[in-house]
């Protein structure tokens, strides 16, 4: 029924047997779940039961594209992932830019399912329909970027796309990310799943093309979108996401010294202007992206001279203010080290900020930190602590197990741990934007600002959603989450979605032009279906209301300084938002979708549920 966008095939590889086969994409599932995140969630539901542990050979990794991935439109770069998270122990969805998704489609596949566990370190080459398993033993210990180079060399063609893991994932550090063509599947530790499977990387190169239903219309949409993006995203091109540092700080929402306060006095030393004037080398963009928001930064002098990294807002926020560090050079150096050894910068920043606070409170000593003076503001300590985690030395071995494990081992430290469902906070303090708290609490993967829904813009410009209001936030967060769920299922970067009218009231004919099927009027319902499917998975894994709550620092400590001084989001305040959210979602008071909600969204039929 589809005239374009989809290839209709999934490649499944088994690392235990070194076999592969091709299976058909199921059209009824595509109609209900669109692609990428939606379909990856369905594969997870069907194949990864609650009994499967993250490092079991039975855990799988699903990498699924969307109908727009690789199509000649701006930033059609995304590939979605699902797997059991080593960091949280529950469902993980994630996605990445880069060329991997488009190249997989040029090979003729909508997705890749990875299962089993290799006997020895392995890498995969996928060239069109041909799959090769090769020995990656000599690559052990190499950095993520070096592995990308080696993979492209092994493919014999620099146009190949690749993904890789670093030495941290080899050591099963649960904060490990997957480097996807220098972009990242960052959160939740998916890199460690590949590490457990002894899969060091994958290169992919295809010679095919992606059919579209109406080529002339696609060209027309592309021209208009690029024109709009050049005007509306010019700031993103110049400053990238680091432009938010100054804004979020001025709004009193910046995690500072492990969220002890929400305004960082050294903000002007690490903002986008400082980056642009002192460190910026060049922009980089993902597949077919006219915005090129990525910023390559390099340290030119001082103790970190030569350090080079791709700094983003979240990274700066968590490695900078949250660790009390106002030295941009140290942030770049720590960012580079995270990238090289392969750990997520957001989780790393949280782990280091926690270590610094524990150290300053005398709850751990320099003996625990292998002699590192783990004080807030110490840039060298920041870099050294990244290495400590990556190498599992001293307290780094405990931090490498993730926040959920840490809280179980040391319940007395829980008041200093900022995480939901085991996933550490992103770089926004929810006491400054209460909707953001609901986002962290109800995100499908733990305290995430993307999957959970980014409320800050709405909370600043919509009268009924004032940032400190409680009523209305359930409605707001649901709409943003559903919007994000379908956008994540398109294969399109969120930065460009507005140029093609993929908002919470979607319009336009992009999907009709690409696939021949007009999904547009159904998109928000598809988003809701995906979000509820994810919740059903989480429920199956034991997640309930108790797991949607915020940590003590947010609910019991008021912000002591800055523009939001005195603000707090108590448990009672949060419950008002959470109750409303459950109600608008059609979930019961314990956060479980009601049978009528499941039926209304067609999930009973899709999941072949009996008696719903």
């Amino acid at each position: 029924m589809f005239e374009g966008g989809y290839l209709g095939k999934i490649l499944r590889v088994n690392l235990s047997t070194r076999e592969h086969h091709v299976e058909q994409l199921k059209e009824n599932e595509v109609l209900k779940l669109l692609g990428a995140r939606g379909l990856a969630a369905k594969y997870y539901y069907d194949e990864i039961g609650p009994e499967v542990k993250p490092f079991d050979p039975a855990n799988k990794v699903f990498l699924i594209t969307g109908p727009l991935t690789g199509v000649k439109l701006p930033s059609t770069t995304k590939i979605g992932l699902s797997t059991k998270s080593p960091e949280t122990g529950i469902y993980l969805c994630s996605n990445s830019g880069g060329d991997f998704g488009p190249q997989l489609k040029f090979c003729g596949f909508d997705g890749l399912a990875i299962e089993g566990q290799a006997d020895d370190w392995t890498y995969l080459l996928i060239r069109d329909g041909e799959v090769t398993f090769s020995d990656a033993g000599p690559w052990q210990g190499l950095t993520t970027d070096k592995i990308l180079e080696m993979l492209k060399e092994a493919m014999g063609d620099k146009r190949a796309a690749a993904l890789s893991i670093g030495p941290a994932a080899e050591r099963l550090v649960r904060l490990s990310y997957i480097n996807v063509d220098t972009r990242a599947i960052g959160r939740g530790g998916a890199g460690a799943v590949l590490g457990s499977k002894r899969l060091k990387g994958i290169a992919v190169l295809g010679s095919g093309s992606i059919p579209v239903a109406d080529e002339a219309k696609v060209k027309e949409i592309r021209r208009a979108a690029i024109e709009e993006l050049r005007e509306t995203r010019a700031n993103h091109t110049k400053y990238g996401t680091p432009q938010y540092i100054e804004i979020i700080n001025e709004l009193g929402c910046m995690p500072t010294r492990n969220f002890q306060t929400a305004y960082f006095e050294g903000g002007d030393k690490i903002d986008a202007h400082m980056m642009r004037e002192g460190y910026w080398v060049r922009n980089y963009g993902c597949y077919q992206c006219p915005v090129a928001c990525g910023k390559v930064c390099e340290v030119k002098d001082g103790p970190f001279a030569g350090a080079r990294a791709r700094t983003e807002f979240e990274t700066i926020g968590m490695l900078g203010p949250s660790c009390g560090v106002d030295d941009f050079s140290a942030i770049v150096a720590a960012n580079q080290l995270c990238d090289e050894i392969g750990i997520d910068t957001i989780s790393a920043g949280n782990a280091i900020a926690l270590t610094m606070e524990l150290h300053e409170r005398g709850l751990i000593s320099s003996e625990d930190t292998d002699g590192i003076e783990a004080h807030f503001g110490n840039g060298q300590a920041l870099v050294d602590l990244v290495r400590l985690i990556g190498e599992r030395r001293g307290i780094g071995d405990l931090l490498a197990e993730g926040m959920a494990h840490l809280a179980r081992e040391h319940p007395e430290w829980s008041r200093y741990i900022l995480a939901v469902k085991g996933l550490p906070f992103a770089a926004y303090d929810p006491r400054g934007f209460h909707g953001n708290g609901l986002t962290y609490g109800t995100s499908s993967r733990g305290a995430c600002h993307n999957v959970g829904g980014w409320t800050i813009r709405d909370e600043l410009q919509t009268g009924q959603y004032d940032r400190f209001a409680l009523k209305g936030k359930g409605v707001l967060v649901q709409a943003i989450q559903d919007n994000r769920a379908y956008v994540d299922s398109l294969g399109l970067c969120t930065v460009v979605r507005g140029s093609m009218n993929f908002r919470d009231k979607p319009k336009g004919d992009v999907l009709k032009a690409v696939t021949g099927y007009d999904f547009t009027s159904e998109l928000m319902e598809i988003g809701a279906r995906i979000y509820n499917l994810e919740r059903m998975i989480l429920n199956r894994e034991g997640i309930r209301r108790k797991d949607d709550l915020l940590p003590e620092r947010i609910t019991k400590e008021a912000i002591p300084s800055g523009p939001t001084q005195g603000r707090i989001l108590t448990g009672e305040m949060y419950a008002i938002m959470l109750d409303e959210y459950y109600e608008v979602r059609g979930w019961d008071e314990d956060g479980v979708p009601k049978p009528e909600t499941i039926r209304k969204l067609g999930l009973d039929e899709l999941l072949a549920l009996d008696g719903s």
């Binding site: 010019a234 110049k238 938010y244 709004l251 980014w454 410009q461 523009p563």
Partner: protein, 89 residues
């Protein structure tokens, strides 16, 4: 001598490029409103407000979140911020 209120206007991120400065203190007559601030910014920097490419806050809340919107009176010590539209991701 006419009484004035002084407010701090901050130009964040790319707005700093537009105005050439990070912030400034500006005096307005007592009783002035956000509309007066908008007109002053237009005259000073050719910055037309409201504008979909500029977000505006008064003491941390969006201008249009106040019941009186642009007719909202400004007070001594208020902080006004201008910045480009922000979106997560």
């Amino acid at each position: 001598m006419e009484a004035n209120v002084k407010v701090q206007i901050k130009y964040l991120a790319a707005l700093r490029d537009r105005t050439g400065r990070r912030q400034e203190q500006v005096s307005f007559p007592v009783g002035a409103t956000l509309q007066d601030v908008a007109e002053w910014l237009n005259g000073q920097y050719d910055l037309s407000l409201p504008n979909p490419q500029v977000m505006t806050t008064l003491n941390g809340s969006g201008w249009n979140q106040f019941p009186s919107k642009l007719s909202t009176k400004i007070n001594e010590g208020d902080i006004i911020c201008l910045f480009p539209p922000i979106a997560g991701g």
